[in-house]
Symmetry: C2
Subunit: 339 residues, 2 copies
Amino acid sequence: PDEQAHRQAVARHAQLTKPAGSLGRLEELGVWISACQGTCPPRPFARPRVVLFAGDHGVAAEGVSAYPSEVTEQMVTNFLTGGAAVNVAATNADATVRVVDIAVATDTPSLIAAHKVRRSSGAINREDALSEAETTAAIAAGRAIADEEIDGGADLLIAGDMGIGNTTVSAVLIAALTDTEPVAVVGRGTGIDDAGWMRKAAVIRDALRRARPVAGDPLALLRVAGGADIAAVSGFLAQAAARRTPVLLDGLAVGAAALIAEELAPNARKWWLAGHRSAEPAHALVLDQLDLTPLLDLGMRLGEGAGALAALPLLTLSCRVLAEMATFEEAGVTGPTSD
Amino acid sequence: PDEQAHRQAVARHAQLTKPAGSLGRLEELGVWISACQGTCPPRPFARPRVVLFAGDHGVAAEGVSAYPSEVTEQMVTNFLTGGAAVNVAATNADATVRVVDIAVATDTPSLIAAHKVRRSSGAINREDALSEAETTAAIAAGRAIADEEIDGGADLLIAGDMGIGNTTVSAVLIAALTDTEPVAVVGRGTGIDDAGWMRKAAVIRDALRRARPVAGDPLALLRVAGGADIAAVSGFLAQAAARRTPVLLDGLAVGAAALIAEELAPNARKWWLAGHRSAEPAHALVLDQLDLTPLLDLGMRLGEGAGALAALPLLTLSCRVLAEMATFEEAGVTGPTSD
């Protein structure tokens, strides 16, 4: 982000008809967007865009989710026909949604399968998620998708992830990258019961045993204990930063990918904002590690991008405040008295 | 709020294509709006309306604010010409703003002065804010304004307050009603320095000495240590509840009025939602006492209604989720497996 635009935005905030700092985090947001765009006041986002990465995970067969793997494909159809939470949240925030099949277990319409890497990723508690070539291909797919979107005019990107089993894989990656014990990262995901929680904890423990030795190498980690969808999201997030395009992060799976992306492209996080804090326990580890303070904390845990979209109107508002509020001089309002 | 619509909304959430409870607080919001409207799914708000109550306070002369009293009138003009934060936030959330002069120290356009009670309210550290008749008139004005707005089609109300000195008065009312020591309620308001903070603390201490004996009688409390604007807001909030119209609360001054309104009309708070947590320390006491959990916590402290408006898109989203998402059956998505 641009330091001169940052300074201009801070200075403009001091001239607007409100007590200095009285809009709190909204002021910081507007300053950050100004810096990302390199201009003050910031432009309203012309094309905020959600890319929803879909992929299945072999671990789903271990009973780690309240839903069967078929739901991934069914939800992809639901996204395409506009019936999912992410669609409603996008409409509400004037954003649009693109679905990409990175590793759904079944065939999907060719419309969304151009970047498909494989059918499902491996069951990481007992085998590698991906081959080396697939890992590279998935990251490249995410980078290519970011390029496509930015070249198409997207000026704010949001990644979502859909795939039964994805919180299990995400928890493993996050535990490996933050050196955390398994039990601290096991969440209820889609809403598993106690027996499911114990199965999930066992899978995470086993997968972490495989993951820890390669935790220092992000590509090896994605290959051994990741998944193609998450690898693609990490490429997407890294490329967005390389292209100087701001990103609003969503929940757990995107958070796991963000930790990887920050390894692939150090300081990529300067281009990211945390839309919300997920109810999944491992998400707090992500936010801490990336030093990001979420805008919302509403107990959401969907992962499709709906949490980020719920926060998007705050970004829009923060831009408009800088662009549309009157200054003390314009409004003829007396400034603060010096004491 | 209506229990049958509440139950219908809870049941509908369980049928929508998302893991049960995965939208967290957004689900509760949609249920609450359904219950307020007595229908499920809830209707999108047709006319969300901000009423901004303006009034000066005698304590401003004691140097408790970073701004002189003239700023109240100047900001009223700024609201009318659309240059203030509340105007931008309203536009961003598809709401409209009405300004009413309840007790501005100077004359304002007749357009907004129909409900004016007096010029400024008394300096509560040494005199009563209002006479008994003025107190009654101010509450009645707030009730009448709520009626006007609801009769005019408003289906979601937001109150804001403008008046230099209002955080001092609000802190006194809140301390009196929650039996809190002065030092715990003194905030920086518009951004006073340490010397100003000490002056403000002394004024609050003196006013509280006058307020405590009448803390059990809301009308007497408003008369002795309140202000016409805050009295009007309390009438407005009580009447909104009587008219079964949901309200999104803003910051400190509205919070002080809400404590009074809950005394005037017990359980009025069932019709209220806390838009945000203000950075003012006394606001947390309000939220605790009313048992309201704020939607946003962004360090805002403006009081014009901008904090409530920042949260409004979340309400809109929560309505749309219930109205627009596909059910498992409609989308052909497999529901959760029973274990």
